[in-house]
């Protein structure tokens, strides 16, 4: 379904939102924070509040060694995952451009201007590096991808009555101990706008199941922030394809997922050893080359592990 059609189906976003699930999710994380404090507050080196992001939770679910390695290693800017990540960030920027100023005129120059205006000069340099790839075919392919993504972003020319915002920081700190936060790609409506909140995650690549978990995490964050469940939430993919996620239950299940991750993190503070689970994710792991559990030849794609939706 196309984004505008999907939004039209939500009417004016004035449906009654559920506050009970938001309260239950809040209580669950408040309890997790209390448990975390009780378990580790006397241990040395603990920095409060302890921040639990969706990526940490997702990594722990895949392989605790991956989570550990990512916490310790700087992201490899030259690695295989760097260009897809940059393309995703470019799409986020194009969506912001479309919402604020209309269509992107020059995908490369405008992207550089946007990042410079944000003070993100490192990204601009990285972009120049990627577009100056020694293989001219690769460089051309990357420019074409940016052109395509800039066109795709035109789908976000939505009704301004939704008060669309991009890269919205949302989160909550519990008892000064546990911080659960993130940055939603696009938020429509919500407090201060007169409409119910709608959360959109903008994806530049192919769908897979992890995206749903991520979006449910943002539903949790929005529920914690607004004190009520969002009206709707969806993943948006190139081709103007909207995949909506069932909102009821998402906050409670995500709260349990975060609470579970928090318990594991507390266990590591107490000295427990991370468990290794090889899989497709080893392809992105900084220590896969030296890990006994690594399965670097496991197909190399999420699809091979059944992650694809």
């Amino acid at each position: 379904m196309r984004l505008r059609e999907w939004l039209d189906g939500l009417g004016h976003g004035d449906a009654v939102a559920d506050g009970d699930e938001a309260t239950a999710a809040f209580d669950r994380l408040d309890s997790a924070a209390a448990e975390l404090t009780e378990r580790v507050h006397d241990l040395p080196g603990v920095t409060w509040p302890f921040s639990v992001t969706n990526s940490v939770v997702a990594d722990l679910h895949r392989c605790e060694g991956l989570a550990a390695a990512r916490a310790q290693a700087a992201v490899d800017a030259e690695g295989d995952g760097a260009w897809p990540r940059m393309a995703g960030e470019a799409l986020d920027a194009y969506v912001a451009h479309v919402l604020a100023e209309g269509p992107v005129a020059d995908p490369v120059d405008d992207l550089a201007s946007m990042w410079e205006a944000s003070g993100e000069f490192g990204r601009t340099e990285q972009l120049a590096h990627f577009l100056a790839a020694s293989d001219p075919d690769v460089a051309r392919q990357r420019r074409r991808e940016l052109d395509r993504l800039a066109r795709e972003a035109l789908a976000f020319d939505v009704d301004p009555g939704w008060a669309p915002r991009v890269q919205v920081p949302i989160g909550r700190t519990f008892g000064g101990a546990l911080a659960v936060r993130g940055r939603a790609d696009v938020v429509l409506g919500g407090p201060g706008t007169g409409r119910g909140a709608v959360i959109l995650e903008v994806k530049s690549g192919a769908p897979h199941a992890e995206h749903h978990a991520q979006l449910r995490h943002y539903v949790l964050l929005a529920a914690l922030r607004n004190g009520e469940m969002p009206l709707a939430a969806a993943l948006w993919y190139p081709g103007d394809s909207v995949v909506d996620v069932h909102v009821p239950g998402a906050a409670e299940s995500s709260a349990e997922r975060v609470a579970s991750a928090t318990r594991r993190l507390a266990a590591f503070w107490e000295g427990e050893v991370p468990q290794l689970h090889g899989g497709a994710h080893c392809r992105w792991c900084p220590v896969a080359d030296t890990c006994a559990a690594a399965r670097p030849d496991s197909g190399g794609t999420w699809a091979s592990e059944g992650f694809r939706a």
Partner: protein, 301 residues
């Protein structure tokens, strides 16, 4: 008591506290202070060294520009009946299209941007404004204030204290409102500084300072009772002292070390980073670095 009398009273209290603490005057120091401007960010800094030793220059950021544009937009359309366009984005775009209502430093900054750069600013200002409306409108909209900070030139020290207050609500007691991203461990100190500067420059003693957090839409009220402002005077004395002699500002290593420009020359910060890197995960995991394992060595990451 008149506003003038209130202001004089707090200025006297600050001057006396500086003298009691033995803070030298600029003349006694024999030169310019190490830092002339001390903002509310310094008051809220966990590590005084990180805040006071870094470069003393005002560099506008996209965040500061966005706040200034959003506040100007809110002030320009304070009357809901005159809100045309009605959406925050539309109101922000109106202000950006005619920069004469903006502070000069914001207008200058915008002049240097192309259309894509403006998109970033409009986007950030719209986000700020929508959050501010959500946070502040629960009791009816407050009086939004000029984006430029309150400034108080500390007598005979060559140091200026500054703080940005976003809105005021009069009930008729004065309640100050500041919109922030998220709470911090020094929020009580920040609230005290804001109240002190308001008293010093506006001649009113605020009944409370409300810190409103965009990330969580939480609103935390700090009543200005029980000696809070008196403590803020003492905190200001510390800040003036460190502004005059930044090298004496104490180091407090913590989470902010990772973002500190002085990290490489700060032994305490480096040690903190080393000892907490990757926490809570262990630095060694059995099964990782299998080659070392095979050689009988300690497996490490």
């Amino acid at each position: 008591m008149s506003r003038g009398e209130v202001a004089v009273g707090w200025r006297t209290a600050l001057a006396d506290a500086l003298a009691d603490a033995g803070i030298p005057t600029a003349e006694e120091l024999g030169g310019e202070p190490g830092r002339e401007r001390v903002s509310h960010h310094h008051a809220a800094a966990v590590c005084a060294a990180g805040a006071f030793v870094s470069a003393d220059e005002f560099v506008p950021t996209a965040t500061a520009v966005a706040r200034a544009i959003a506040l100007t937009s809110l002030r320009a359309t304070a009357d809901p009946a005159r809100r045309d366009p009605a959406t925050p984005a539309g109101r922000v775009r109106s202000v950006v299209a005619d920069t004469t209502t903006l502070p000069g430093w914001v207008a200058d900054w915008l002049d240097g941007l192309d259309r894509a750069g403006v998109a970033v600013v409009v986007s950030a200002a719209t986000r700020w404004m929508t959050d501010a409306l959500a946070l502040a409108s629960r009791k009816g909209e407050p009086q939004w204030l000029d984006p430029d900070p309150i400034r108080h030139r500390v007598a005979r020290r060559g140091v200026t204290l500054t703080a940005g207050v976003d809105a005021v609500r009069r009930t008729p007691a004065v309640h100050l409102l500041v919109v922030r991203l998220r709470p911090g461990v020094t929020d009580h100190r920040l609230a005290g500084r804001l109240a002190l500067l308001w008293a010093l420059e506006r001649g009113e003693e605020p009944a409370s300072v409300v810190l409103a957090h965009r990330e969580s839409l939480e609103v935390v009220r700090f009543p200005m009772t029980g000696g809070v402002v008196e403590q803020a005077v003492l905190d200001a004395v510390d800040d003036v002292s460190w502004a005059m002699r930044p090298s004496e500002a104490p180091v407090v290593a913590g989470a902010a070390c990772g973002f500190c420009s002085l990290l490489e020359v700060c032994p305490e910060g480096m040690e903190h980073r080393r000892s907490t890197s990757g926490a809570p995960f262990p630095t060694t995991i059995a099964g990782v670095d299998g080659r070392q394992d095979a050689a009988g060595g300690e497996p490490t990451m």
